[in-house]
C-alpha cells in the first residue's frame, strides 16, 4: 500500500472529540483522533512514549506525544496552543479532517522494566506520554511492582486530565498531586515537583523513574533522583527538539550523533549524561 511505502504521506483522519483541559493564555485541548480507514486504525500499534505527527492541510504538521494507551480504539493527543499548527488545531471542530503520520520515535522500554517498581514524575502538559504509560501499566499490572505517581502544575487550573488524575489518586496508594502556590480550598501538596519528589522519597531499590515536563523541572528532578540513590540507568526522560521529518533525515533534532525523532524521544539518563547540550 502506497501509504506505508512513503514515510512523508500521512493517513487521513478526523477529530472524534475535543476536550478543554486548560483555559489559559496557553490553552490546552485534548483531541481524540480516529484514522479514516478502520483497518488501519486497528493496526495502528505503538508503544507508550511514541509520538504522532498531526497535520492540517495547508497549515503544516507538528509532533505530539500520544496520550492514549496502545489498546485504545483512537489516538489521543493533548495540544498546547503555541504557533501555526497548534492554533489551527485549537480552531478545529469535531468532525474536521486532520492527517496523521506515525508512530514516531522509540517509546518507553516497557519490556525492560517488567518486574520493577515504577515512579512516574510529570509536570504540566508533560503528563501526556506518562498517561499512556500509566494505562499501559494498569493493563499489565501483574508484570510491574509498585507504582508511584507524582504530578504537578502551576495552579489547579493548569492540571491536565484533572478528573482522571483525581480518579488515579483514589485508586492508587501513592499518587501525589501538587501545585506551585497555595490556593484556597486546595488540600493536596503545594510546591514544585522536585521538592514533592523529595517529600515522597520513593526507594530506588528495583525501581525506574520516568520524568517528563518542562526542561527546568526535568533537570531538578534528575538531581533529586540522584540524591535519593537512583542510578543514571534507572532514570528515563523524554526530550523535545524542533522537528520536521520525524524519521532522521531533515537533520534538525540531533544531539551529537543521535536524532531525537528516531533514537528518542525517550532516553535513559545514562545515555544523556554522555551527550553535550541536551536541552
Amino acid at each position: 500500500m502506497v501509504l506505508q511505502l512513503n514515510p512523508y504521506l500521512p493517513y487521513p483522519a478526523y477529530i472524534r472529540g475535543i476536550r478543554d483541559e486548560v483555559l489559559d493564555k496557553r490553552p490546552i485541548k485534548t483531541f481524540t483522533i480516529e484514522l479514516k480507514d478502520e483497518k488501519l486504525m486497528k493496526n495502528f500499534t505503538f508503544k507508550p512514549g511514541q509520538c504522532v505527527m498531526v497535520g492540517i492541510i495547508g497549515v503544516g504538521e507538528a509532533i505530539f506525544a500520544i496520550a492514549s494507551p496502545p489498546n485504545a480504539d483512537c489516538i489521543e493527543i493533548s495540544v498546547m496552543k503555541m504557533g501555526r499548527v497548534t492554533t489551527a488545531l485549537h480552531n478545529c471542530n469535531v468532525g474536521d479532517k486532520v492527517f496523521v503520520r506515525g508512530p514516531i520515535g522509540n517509546g518507553f522500554p516497557v519490556e525492560e522494566w517488567e518486574g520493577k517498581n515504577i515512579v512516574l514524575i510529570a509536570g504540566g502538559i508533560g503528563i501526556t506520554p506518562l498517561r499512556s504509560l500509566y494505562y499501559y501499566i494498569c493493563d499489565n499490572r501483574g508484570k510491574y511492582g509498585e507504582l508511584t505517581f507524582i504530578y504537578g502544575a502551576r495552579s489547579s487550573k493548569d492540571l491536565c486530565f484533572k478528573e482522571e488524575i483525581f480518579e488515579i489518586e483514589r485508586k492508587e496508594k501513592t499518587c501525589h498531586i501538587t501545585i506551585d502556590f497555595e490556593e484556597e480550598g486546595w488540600t493536596r501538596h503545594v510546591g514544585f515537583v522536585p521538592d514533592v519528589l523529595m517529600k515522597v522519597s520513593p526507594s530506588p531499590k528495583n525501581s525506574v523513574a520516568i520524568t517528563c515536563g518542562p526542561p527546568i523541572m526535568i533537570r531538578y528532578v534528575i538531581q533529586n533522583l540522584h540524591k535519593l540513590g537512583f542510578k543514571p540507568s534507572q532514570i528515563y526522560t523524554t526530550l523535545e527538539k524542533r522537528m520536521k521529518c520525524g524519521i532522521g533525515k531533515c537533520g534538525r533534532c540531533n544531539i551529537g550523533s543521535l536524532y531525537v525523532c528516531k533514537d528518542g524521544p525517550v532516553f535513559s539518563y545514562e545515555t544523556l549524561q554522555k551527550l553535550p547540550e541536551v536541552f
Binding site: 492540517i56 492541510i57 495547508g58 479532517k97 523535545e240 527538539k241 531533515c250 537533520g251 550523533s257 536541552f279
Partner: protein, 322 residues
C-alpha cells in the same frame, strides 16, 4: 575499454539526448543547457550535483484546499544522465544515500537515484581548494558511477561499471572504437598525476572537541548558509505547506543548520542560538558524528565551502591542515 574521439563529441551528446535527459557541467551548476566542449573542461560547477537526487524544492504531494484532501499523482520520471560528473560529486551522492536510505527509506530520493545514470569523468586538473585525497577518495574514484571516463588527449575512454552503464555505451556504440593500449596506459598515468596534484593535508580530527578553541572562528560567520547549500553532503531540509488559491503543495526545501531559526522551538527555546554552536554542529556532524554512524566522513573534499565562504572561513584550517 572503449574510446570516443573528441571530434565526435557533439554527435555523442546528441545520441544520448535522444534517450535521456542529459545534464552536464556549466560554470554554475548541472544543466541540460550546456556547452559540449566546455562541459568537458570545467572542473566542477559552483553548485554540487546533489540537486539531481535531492532538489532544492521538491513537492511531496499536492492537496485540495477546499475539500482538504491529499492528491497523490505518481508521475513517472524520465531517466536523467549526469554527464562528466566528478568523483567527489558522486561521492556526495553516495553519502546522501546512506542518510536517505538508513532505517526508513526516503522514497523521493530513492526514486530519483534509481532514475539517474552517472557517466563520471576523472579529474585531470584538480584545483587549489580540492582535498579529496585527505578524506579518502581520489580524482579517479568510481564508486556510484555507471560509466567511468577519462579524457586522454584527443579521446575519451570509457569503462562500464554497471548494467546501466553497459546499456549507455551500447546506445552510442556506433561512435565508439576500441581504446588503444597506449590510451589505457596514459589514462592510468593521468590518474596518478592528478592524485599527486591534489594538496594533501594531515587532518587532525581529534582537535574537534566540544570545548575546542577552533570554534572561535565562528566570530566572523555570517550565518549565510552558503557553505551548506553548496555542500554536496549537506541534507537538511524544511517541510512547508505552500498554498495557492484552491490547491497547494507540501514541499520540502533545503534548509541550513547555520540559521538560528532552524532549531528554534515553539516555546522560544533554541538549543543552537549561537553561531559557535551552529558551526560546531556542522563540522562535528561531518567529521565526528557521521564517522561514528557510518565510519566515514561526510565530506568529499570538494572545497566548495572553502572557495565560496564570503568571509573565508576555511574548513581546511579548522581541520588543522595548513
Amino acid at each position: 575499454m572503449k574510446a570516443l574521439d573528441k571530434a565526435n563529441l557533439d554527435k555523442f551528446v546528441e545520441l544520448l539526448s535522444e534517450e535521456f535527459n542529459v545534464y552536464s557541467i556549466t560554470d554554475t551548476d548541472f544543466s541540460t543547457d550546456f556547452d559540449n566542449n566546455k562541459a568537458l573542461e570545467i572542473l566542477k560547477p559552483i553548485k554540487s550535483a546533489k540537486e539531481i537526487v535531492f532538489p532544492q524544492t521538491e513537492p511531496l504531494f499536492k492537496f485540495d484546499l477546499v475539500g482538504k484532501e491529499i492528491v497523490v499523482n505518481e508521475k513517472q520520471n524520465s531517466t536523467n544522465l549526469m554527464l562528466w560528473i566528478k568523483p567527489c560529486d558522486v561521492r556526495g551522492i553516495n553519502i546522501l544515500k546512506k542518510v536517505f536510505e538508513k532505517d526508513v527509506k526516503d522514497v523521493y530520493f530513492a526514486n530519483k537515484l534509481n532514475n539517474t545514470i552517472f557517466v563520471g569523468l576523472a579529474c585531470n586538473n584538480p584545483s587549489r581548494n580540492c582535498f579529496c585525497t585527505s578524506v579518502s577518495i581520489t580524482p579517479y574514484y568510481k564508486e556510484g558511477m555507471d560509466v567511468f571516463a577519462t579524457s586522454v588527449n584527443g579521446a575519451i575512454i570509457f569503462e562500464a561499471l554497471t548494467e546501466k552503464g553497459k546499456e549507455v555505451l551500447e546506445k552510442v556504440n556506433s561512435l565508439l572504437r576500441d581504446a588503444t593500449k597506449d590510451e589505457v596506459e596514459k589514462a592510468k598515468e593521468i590518474h596518478l598525476q592528478a592524485e599527486n596534484k591534489v594538496r594533501r593535508y594531515n587532518f587532525n580530527t581529534s582537535r574537534l572537541t566540544w570545548d575546542s578553541d577552533v570554534w572561535r572562528i565562528s566570530e566572523i560567520c555570517l550565518s549565510c548558509g552558503i557553505c551548506t547549500y553548496l555542500c554536496p553532503t549537506c541534507h537538511c531540509f524544511d517541510i512547508i505547506d505552500e498554498n495557492y488559491v484552491y490547491e497547494g503543495e507540501r514541499i520540502r526545501i533545503w534548509d541550513s543548520c547555520m540559521y538560528s531559526e532552524y532549531t528554534l522551538q515553539a516555546s522560544g527555546h533554541n538549543p543552537r542560538a549561537y553561531r559557535l554552536q551552529r558551526l560546531r554542529n556542522r563540522i562535528m556532524h561531518k567529521f565526528v558524528w557521521f564517522k561514528e554512524m557510518f565510519d566515514e566522513y561526510a565530506c568529499t573534499g570538494c572545497g566548495r565551502c572553502v572557495s565560496y565562504c564570503p568571509v573565508n572561513i576555511s574548513l581546511i584550517e579548522i581541520l588543522g591542515g595548513v
